[in-house]
Amino acid sequence: MRTVADLKIGEKGVIVSFSDELLSLKLLEMGCLPGTQVTMTHIAPFGDPIAVKVSGYVLSMRKDEASTIVVA
């Protein structure tokens, strides 16, 4: 299962589902909807956290949070 955490810089994915129910509400509110395209834009020094472009803005999250977003 491919997640946002697996994306490389510049790589795109489309959100399919969330594997963590508690976290999904926050992600939904921040505009991460199933069917939305995400683009990996930054990976912080030491590889964590990461930042993605989604719904027209840049959202940062930790790697383990990114790994709850399944993409295709």
Partner: protein, 706 residues
């Protein structure tokens, strides 16, 4: 229409809410407190039309009405409770047009709560730059509310907003009775029957968030729990479903009102992209961050020195002038040595505080602060902190009180608690005056490091680094002690860089400086007066005896020399002198004498009193010729009676600096910790661990340098 309607400004963080607030109200704003919480409440006045003045309430930024952190709870506690004193007559939801869908989610929730709502579309220029054109007439029709296009930063479109607000206030607002989510009507009926009549959505909000709502008591909360059980209600599931279905509705509306001009697949690199290449770089990112901090401290030390010298000399001159012209009396002495010396001790730090607040608000305003959180998160996590702890830690450089309050944005209780516990170790602006005086005393002014950096600036930077290092170390220890397994998260927006809004910065600078001068000033002036009384009077007729003693011991002395001897002897015999003497054995190993003992005592409740106390003590006990009119000169002239060398040498200077760097000498901070943790345990721990740390470190430093 009501005489002065209450209007709440609601919106996502970074949607331009504060800009709009400043554009609407200008300087006609005041800060207050939300009842029961310590968060600053900003209220301003806005003229709607002749005779009607609206009260604008600026609420903290939120993404939805379901709170994820303590600061977001403030908003929902107002909006969920029509009996709340701050419950608005209507709301202006500020939306970022370049990110319309996400911003409309919050809008639709607020509207469904039954609060008359106007949508203010902001940042249309940003949207247009990325090829988005919005038909706001159609949007108004689809959403069934008034929509106003504004440019909050430039203050354009305010008349249109005024019209929209007037219209909404005059009409009866029809709330939406077709909620985009399923629920059982019996459940709603039962809630309304038990907890009062309200809109359906309001009832559902009560049901799912009752644990976070202050309006309900324990019994009512248990009632809600029972209802949840009876109907098999899952709040999180409901909220997630609601969010998805709201987006489904909004998608359709937005797609019909928004025209996207296709942009090329690889869009032009924006300034934000270019800057982030550097600021988020694994080497340059940290380099820039450290560089900014370093420049900040150099600036605070060197630029602020000019106005400070002016103030310092001005106060000394005024004191001397009053003493020369007014007839000699105790009252005049109280005015000059007590009051003016004390007030001068506060005012002299205003330039440094202004510079510090200026830098911090610049970093926040431009969007750079969230980059710092981003590159620091992994490092901070290792020490039990969170990327978001960086803001409290940096703000702690100005003042621990707002810094501790800013921890509310940290979602995890454990991360938040650790941040609260260690933030007071950051060197706040009240320590700055102490450092300034002591560094100037023991670090040579002309020396430089590598020929460019003043050694005094380097010493100051070192003290701030030391405070930071100790904060990190303490956090790590706390992380090991508190083993709570709680999930913390770090989902946040990295806003695009913005030029600082000059007006906004000036207003916040004015507010925070005013707060410092009056809050700290009150305490300092009060303590200065008490101290003057304690230093001018002694038990029984100790003062007369002291004078007599000097006169008989030095029969040949006359004039100024005699006066000084008498003054010094009097101070030693006064109440303050006695206190200092009692303390002396305990602080001797740190290199301190009874005079410093007095200062430690008076600065126990507020450390900024130290310099004021020193001015009072040394203006009472020292010679008064033209060259020795400032505190610093008087302290420099002080001779250690045991060694015959200057009292303030490197050992004593650094021992004092370290003591003040670590000691918990601030009642306001302890009170804030109590309010934020709702327990006396944490402020007590803070007081004990920091004071112990200060004592031991000062002891080690003094013994090593002696």
């Amino acid at each position: 229409m009501k005489k002065s309607p209450k209007i709440a400004l609601i919106g996502n963080p970074n949607a331009g809410k504060s800009s709009l607030f400043n554009s609407l109200t200008g300087l006609r704003q005041k800060t207050g407190n939300f009842p029961g919480v310590t968060m600053d409440k900003l209220i301003g006045k806005w003229n709607l039309e002749t005779g009607t003045e609206a009260e604008i309430l600026d609420l903290p930024g939120i993404y939805s009405i379901y709170p994820k952190s303590v600061d977001e709870q403030v908003v929902i506690n107002i909006l969920a409770n029509p009996q709340h004193p701050d419950y608005p007559d209507m709301a202006i939801v500020v939306a970022d047009a370049s990110n319309l869908k996400r911003n409309l989610l919050l809008f639709s929730q607020v509207r469904d709560l039954g609060i008359p709502t106007v949508l203010a579309l902001n940042m249309i220029d940003v949207a247009e730059n990325s090829g988005i054109v919005i038909n706001s007439f159609k949007l108004a029709k689809e959403l069934n509310v008034e929509v106003a296009e504004v440019n909050a930063k430039k203050g354009i479109g305010l008349n249109g907003l005024r019209l929209a607000v007037n219209k909404t206030l005059e009409q009866r607002f029809n709330s939406n009775d077709s909620l985009p989510v399923e629920y059982s009507p019996e459940l709603i009926d039962e809630i309304k029957e038990k907890y009062g009549d309200t809109d359906d959505y309001h009832a559902l909000l009560w049901l799912s968030e009752h644990d976070n709502l202050k309006q309900f008591n324990t019994e009512q909360r248990v009632g809600f729990d029972k209802l949840q059980e009876k109907y098999g209600w899952n709040s999180k599931k409901f909220q997630a479903q609601e969010t998805v279905s709201r987006y489904a509705v909004l998608n359709e509306i937005v797609d019909g009102c928004l025209h996207q001009i296709p942009v090329e697949d690889e869009p032009v690199k924006t300034w934000t992209d270019r800057l982030d290449k550097v600021f988020l770089h694994q080497f340059w990112g940290y380099f820039v961050f450290l560089g900014i901090l370093f420049v900040m401290f150099q600036a605070v030390f060197t630029w602020a020195a000019y106005p400070q010298d002016l103030i310092d000399n001005g106060v000394a001159w005024l004191n001397q002038y009053l003493k020369d012209t007014l007839p000699e009396s105790q009252l005049v002495n109280l005015l000059t040595d007590g009051l003016i010396a004390g007030i001068g001790g506060v005012v002299v730090f205003v330039p440094q505080i202004v510079f510090l607040f200026l830098f911090i608000s610049l970093l926040e305003e431009t969007g750079y602060m969230s980059r710092v959180m981003f590159i620091m998160d992994k490092l901070m996590r290792r020490f039990g902190l969170n990327g978001k702890s960086v803001v409290p830690l940096i703000s702690g450089v100005a003042c621990a009180v707002p810094a501790i309050m800013s921890t509310r944005s940290i979602g995890s209780w454990k991360d938040r608690l650790i941040t609260i516990m260690v933030t007071p170790l950051m060197s706040c602006s009240a320590r700055l005056p102490i450092y300034t005086v002591l560094i100037a005393l023991v670090v040579p002014e002309k020396s430089t490091l590598f020929g460019i950096f003043s050694l005094q600036g380097v010493a100051l930077f070192g003290l701030y680094l030391l405070g930071f290092g100790m904060a990190i170390l303490s956090a790590w220890i706390l992380k090991v002690v508190l083993k709570a397994k709680e999930r913390s998260y770090f989902i946040m927006e990295l806003p695009s860089y913005k030029g600082p809004r000059f007006k906004h910065i000036m207003i916040s600078l004015l507010n925070s400086t005013k707060a410092f001068v009056f809050e700290a000033g009150k305490i300092i002036v009060a303590i200065s007066i008490v101290l003057w009384v304690m230093a001018s009077y002694g038990p029984g007729n100790a003062m007369q005896e002291a004078e007599q003693k000097v006169k008989t011991e030095n029969p040949t002395l006359t004039g100024a020399d005699l006066e000084n001897k008498i003054a010094a002897q009097k101070l030693e015999s006064s109440y303050a002198g006695h206190f200092g003497k009692v303390l002396e054995p305990a602080i001797k190993p740190l290199g301190y004498d009874w005079k410093i003992g007095i200062a430690l005592l008076t600065s126990f409740a507020a450390r900024e009193v130290f310099v004021g106390t020193m001015s009072t003590i040394y203006s009472l006990g020292g010679e008064v010729d033209d060259e020795n009119t400032t505190v610093m000169n008087r302290m420099r002239a002080e001779i250690n009676p045991e060694t015959g060398k200057p009292m303030y040498d490197a050992a004593l200077g650094f021992s004092l600096m370290i003591f003040y760097a670590f000691a918990m000498q601030c009642m306001s901070t302890l009170a804030t910790t109590y309010r934020e943790t709702k327990s006396w345990r944490y402020p007590a721990i803070q007081l004990v661990y920091m004071t112990t740390l200060a004592y031991l470190s000062a002891f080690i430093v003094y013994q090593l340098l002696k």
